[in-house]
């Protein structure tokens, strides 16, 4: 059995300075993302400014996450097997985001009758008898809850 294990108890001790530097980098990145969020960034190509803003925030977040994973969690120094399993969760997560493929390729909009009332009360809590005149032609005024 021992043949297959890379003996990790000859462990790698990372100097404090590395950790401290990482922490400083992380805090700086955090400040950078707050700072970047205070601007309305311009649109780039097909992406609207909103998307660009969000992309910047997420790229910084990913950078921070990578720092934490690589340095703090020590993946940089761990076995290939551990690296594979680190990746597996995130890869599967990307597959999960494949669900978005459905929402981007179909009409996804709720009909009016289904939204809760403008006064904020949930439609299911309104009395049955109440008949609300149609808001527009497409309104079905469906009763939500008996």
């Amino acid at each position: 059995m021992a043949s297959q294990t890379s003996h990790s108890h000859e462990h790698h001790i990372v100097p404090t300075s590395t950790y401290l530097l990482t922490l400083i980098l992380l805090v700086l990145l955090m400040l950078a993302t707050v700072w970047a969020a205070s601007f309305n960034l311009p649109a780039i190509g097909p992406f609207s400014g909103t998307v660009v803003n969000q992309m910047v925030a997420l790229i910084i977040a990913t950078a921070k996450a990578l720092l934490v994973i690589m340095v703090f969690m020590g993946v940089r120094w761990s076995s290939t097997l551990a690296k594979l399993w680190v990746a597996s969760g995130f890869v599967t997560l990307i597959l999960l985001f494949g669900i978005l493929g459905d929402y981007t390729t179909r009409h996804y909009e709720h009909q009016h009758g289904w939204e809760a009332r403008p006064d904020g009360s949930l439609p299911r809590s309104t009395p049955d008898e109440e008949v609300v005149p149609p808001i527009n032609a497409n309104d079905l005024n469906v009763k939500i809850r008996q």
């Binding site: 294990t5 922490l23 992380l26 805090v27 400040l31 993302t33 399993w85 969760g89 999960l96």
Partner: protein, 239 residues
């Protein structure tokens, strides 16, 4: 291979469990096991992040206005606190590698203090939401002006759909709440670890791996917050 160990011989090392051949194999197993567990956690939070992404993408303006009630400063402070706690945690692991017992205990205690600070700040954030009736469910705020002030209006007209705002707060409480549950679990685990270090239990003092495992968990909790922060607190206005 070389190592043919008799089963009756559990080795000289009392930290070694009977099913393993040697401590290296055991350590490797623990670390890999922890990572496999963390990949489960990635999917656990991942599904929530997906739901958030979908609804956010559909109701951008409503989510933006709803998010204006969150306090970026408190969020940033909380992020720093968690980042710092990650640092103290990693220092605890390093001290464990160097077998500096008191350092380990000190760093772990600092981590717990950070975690508690985080929770206290979270408590104040939650109470300000609850005070403004921004908790999801039947009692959700109906008056957009009272809840979001001028943000709720654009060109004199109501711009926010309170239903979608409620969805935002449902996800906010759901995701940060689940994260807080992980923090609380982390505090308990770290407390248990501190106790083991205090009583000089061989299971932790002989090898740094148990400390490292708790560390991995704690960094993961930090990791989740690293994404929660920009997604909830730093929304760009749709433009």
């Amino acid at each position: 291979m070389s190592a043919i160990t008799n089963t009756s011989d559990h080795g000289h090392d009392s930290a070694l469990h009977h099913q393993f051949e040697d401590i290296g194999q055991q350590n490797d197993s623990y670390i890999v096991g922890m990572w496999v567990f963390l990949s489960t956690e990635v999917m656990f939070f991942g599904a929530l992040f997906f739901i958030y992404t979908l609804y956010r993408w559909n109701y951008q303006l409503d989510f933006y206005i709803a998010h204006e009630h969150l306090d970026v400063k408190l969020g940033a402070i909380n992020t720093s606190v968690l980042l710092f706690s990650s640092f103290t945690m990693v220092m605890a692991v390093q001290s464990a590698q160097l077998k500096r017992r008191l350092h380990v205990i000190g760093y772990l205690l600092t981590t717990i203090v950070c975690a508690c600070t985080f929770l206290v700040i979270k408590y104040f954030e939650y109470s300000s939401k609850i005070a403004d009736h921004l908790y999801p469910g039947a009692g959700f705020a109906t008056d957009a002006h009272a809840a979001f002030g001028a943000h709720a209006f654009e060109a004199g007209k109501l711009a926010v759909n309170m239903n979608h705002a409620q969805l935002f707060y449902a996800l906010y409480f759901g995701m940060t709440g689940l994260h807080a549950v992980h923090i609380i679990a982390g505090i308990l685990v770290i407390l248990a670890l501190i106790r083991l270090w205090v009583i000089r239990a061989k299971s932790v003092t002989l090898d740094y791996i148990p400390t490292e495992m708790v560390g991995l968990y704690w960094h993961f909790v930090d990791l989740v917050w690293i994404f929660l922060f920009p997604l909830f607190y730093l929304m760009p206005k749709p433009h």
